[in-house]
Symmetry: C2
């Protein structure tokens, strides 16, 4: 059996690799697991067959030999637990790598989503400048904490893990934001991860879908 | 060995059980594991010894026989994997329960935090009403999806799991919000969880800390 994941038929990020199927593709490439992709339109994501797999009507999902799973973090955890390469063998280090997976989606990504949503929904509002400054300040406190921890470490805790995969994927969302220029250590960390061959293969695969969607 | 967790010396929620140590206390009570608590002031949370355990300077942390862990979700996952009672034995059901843990912190909590932060930071701003309406609308779409999934299920997927523990803990944060009245199924779900003896023991333990902090 090879797993099947779902992805956008036409990614709103224009092939930049920010859609969350990219995180799962990357994990599968890291462990050397081939996979199939089922592409969904926005309409199909909100229809009953997909909602039965993901109640929030989002991609990616993961199907493998009867298992149907949603939530990017949970899918990557499942892949990491069933294959070598994304979690340390030693049990304490393994628990800490999982902590960084949760830290990425729970302690960093919400502040990045707030920044994205502010830019997306409020750019034309009279309060945009004032609110954006506050949102950026809150995010910067999180990034400062992360950068201080990373310091001169290559990865967050020992060898590259699913925790790094998740954290890098979250940070990529603000790569283009001006404030990210203030964190050269985090930018270098993202660049190290993107230099991994598994990342390059996953990026190419999702980009091919985008190019195909252009017809 | 019994684990030690950290908690607020003086919880800002005034004993309502919303601080995240409550989630870990609840998990430990569900599996019947006794534990110690080390209380921290806000100042101590931002000092080097605590930052070495949690780079973001937050509670709770978890220490057990050399393991030092942060992130509430990761701590609860660790407890759930080492004891019976919070994850199904069957492997697919186990993966799905972990998916609900991630869903709680990644697909629901960020929208609840945005609601809280809007009320906290922007109540006196001229744009408050307009922004709050938009924030509530985004949150309601997530709650509608969750309520539709829950339907007449007792718990999110089979027996009570760490996924329910996390989701209920997230929903408790908006129990007092007017919009929550539109979701009687979710309110009943939260009430079912709060009726569990393990929940009651954990709640009493954190409330005792609050009362003690009043001197």
């Amino acid at each position: 059996m090879r797993p099947t994941i779902t992805a956008f038929a036409a990614s709103p990020d224009r092939g930049r690799g920010l859609a969350r199927d990219m995180r799962v593709r990357w994990a599968l490439e890291e462990v050397g697991q081939v996979y199939d992709v089922r592409l969904l339109t926005f309409a199909e994501m909100k229809e009953a067959p997909h909602l039965a797999m993901n109640p929030f009507g989002q991609i990616p999902t993961y199907e493998d030999d009867g298992l149907r799973l949603f939530e990017t973090g949970a899918i990557i955890l499942h892949i990491a637990e069933r294959h070598d390469g994304l979690l340390p063998q030693e049990s304490d280090a393994r628990a800490r790598a999982k902590a960084w997976m949760f830290a990425a989606v729970s302690s960093v990504e919400p502040w990045i989503l707030e920044l994205e949503n502010t830019g997306f929904f409020e750019r034309d509002k009279p309060w945009f400048q004032e609110r954006m400054a506050a949102v950026e300040a809150r995010l910067c406190r999180r990034l400062e904490a992360l950068a201080r921890w990373l310091d001169d470490r290559e990865w967050l805790d020992g060898a590259f893990s699913a925790g790094d995969l998740m954290m890098v994927s979250v940070l990529q969302r603000i790569r283009g934001a001006e404030l990210f220029g203030g964190f050269p250590g985090l930018a270098a960390y993202v660049a190290r991860a993107e230099a991994r061959p598994a990342y390059a293969r996953a990026f190419a695969a999702q980009l091919a879908v985008y190019h195909a969607s252009l017809g």
